[in-house]
């Protein structure tokens, strides 16, 4: 049988349609490899068959495609899943590689322990430093508060001294041989509000059971303007609407209804 007869024997169609026996298939593949005419005949019939079946195609139900695509995606996932499994098994095969990993892990563990101890010690150190800082911070806050109060005092003092409506009454010892040699006080008397502020420039320190008392002299009579202790800065006294002079006497603690002589210092008002 020559090649042409072989081609026309029906073996080509039988092979393509899957009806050839194993023997016939093997022979046909040998013939294809050896003779391009056989290959050409096979290809021609394949194309004819394909054309025929495509022209007589029946569309499957429209929902089937999404099922097929879903199946393929599941298959894809399985395929990728297999790779993960094989990676999990890898360490069993490569125990030499695993030893290095284990050694590295032990070194890392020891290193980590040392670092932990170091950081714990550091932590303790910083805790005590922190406590110190909190304490000094509290101290600073207290000091700051005291300074604030002082500043407020000085500010009000400054207001008094700067106020243009203040009359200033300088009070000096009433007699050169009196009890307050070198004594000196000043009354700041507001012309509008009639508030009285007393500044003690210099007075002898009184006994523990005594207190100085300020008097306003109104038409020759003494009017109580309040007791005071010696301190820095002005002391607000009682409001005095009208006075020709101010005088200070030493009285029992708490003050007296009428002055006990002698007068320590005395000053006349300008008004």
């Amino acid at each position: 049988m020559n090649v042409q007869e072989y081609i026309l024997s029906g073996v080509v169609e039988s092979y393509v349609l899957g009806l050839a026996s194993a023997e016939e298939r093997a022979e046909f593949e040998r013939m294809c490899a050896a003779h391009s005419e056989v290959r050409a005949a096979r290809d021609a019939f394949e194309q004819l068959l394909e054309k025929q079946l495509l022209s007589q195609a029946v569309a499957p139900p429209s929902n089937l495609k999404s099922k097929v695509i879903a199946d393929i995606e599941i298959e894809n996932d399985k395929r990728q899943g297999k790779k993960v499994v094989s990676m999990k098994q890898a360490p069993v095969v490569q125990s030499g590689w695993l030893r290095y990993v284990a050694a590295a892990a032990v070194i890392l563990l020891v290193g980590s322990t040392i670092l932990n101890f170091y950081f714990f010690t550091e932590y303790k150190k910083y805790i005590s430093k922190y406590d110190e800082l909190v304490a000094s911070q509290t101290q600073m806050a207290t000091l700051n508060q005291a300074l604030q109060t002082k500043v407020q005092q000085y500010e009000s003092m400054l207001n008094i001294f700067q106020d243009t409506s203040m009359s200033i009454v300088k009070m000096l010892p009433a007699a050169p041989d009196g009890p307050a040699i070198g004594g000196h006080t000043t009354v700041y008397w507001n012309n509008n509000s009639k508030d009285v502020y007393l500044v003690v420039n210099n007075l002898p320190k009184p006994a523990a059971d005594k207190q100085y008392q300020l008097w306003a002299i109104v038409d020759g009579k003494p009017v109580d303007a309040g007791v005071f202790d010696i301190q820095n800065g002005p002391v607000k006294m009682k409001n005095i609407p009208n006075a020709q002079a101010f005088a200070i006497t030493l009285e029992p603690k708490g003050g007296s209804a009428s002055p006990t002589l002698p007068i320590y210092v005395l000053g006349k008002t300008t008004g």
Binding site: L8, S9, G10, V11, E13, S14, V16, L17, G18, L19, S21, E29, C32, R42, D43, F45, E46, Q47, L48, L49, E50, K51, Q52, L53, L54, Q56, A57, V58, A59, P60, P61, L64, K65, K67, V68, I69, D71, I72, E73, E75, N76, R79
Partner: protein, 179 residues
């Protein structure tokens, strides 16, 4: 691979071997109808045909590595995968049982569609109908029922050599009618 238009046979094969989902979508769009018609012709049951078509595409996906272009075209390979799956189903117990409950095997209801597709107008039946009856029965038994030549010789009570010769002649006739 972003190709959505058409593939050359080579491009399609390499995309399929890379398990490119888009290539499988393309394959389905272009070939599912031709393969489905063969499944219907073998099983004559649209519900089973749907299952088989689904199975065929998974098989194509799984076995694409085994496809060897030197042995023939991609379509021929897919057609053989399809025919084998269909005949396996035909021979299965499930199919035998389903046929007992099935009244009209020659008419196929394409699930839900109003029109009934006559099996005589699909796949190879049209060309098959032109064959002489003694040729036609052999093709039916060999190709659509999947019997071996030996089995056919027994069924038809004719010598094996005659079966072989008649089948080959029938195939050559079939080819003539396709042209």
């Amino acid at each position: 691979m972003g190709i959505t238009g058409t593939y050359t046979e080579q491009e399609l094969i390499s995309a399929l071997k890379e398990r490119d989902n888009q290539a499988y979508g393309y394959l389905y769009d272009n070939y599912s109808g031709a393969l489905y018609s063969i499944i219907l012709q073998i099983l004559q049951n649209s519900e089973l045909a749907n299952d088989v078509l689904q199975e065929v595409f998974i098989n194509i996906w799984r076995k694409i590595e085994t496809y060897d272009p030197s042995r023939g075209r991609l379509f021929t390979w897919m057609l053989n995968v399809t025919r084998n799956a269909s005949i396996d189903t035909l021979r299965s117990k499930g199919y035998q049982n389903s046929q007992k409950n099935q009244g009209l095997p020659e008419n196929v209801n394409i699930s839900g569609q109003v029109t009934q597709t006559n099996i005589d107008n699909i796949g190879l039946t049209k060309v098959l109908a032109k064959l002489k009856p003694e040729h036609r029965i052999l093709i039916e038994l060999a190709y659509f029922k999947g019997y071996t030549h030996e089995e056919i010789a027994q069924i038809e009570d004719i010598p094996l050599g005659t079966v072989k010769t008649r089948i080959r002649n029938a195939l050559l006739q079939l080819k003539e009618y396709m042209q």
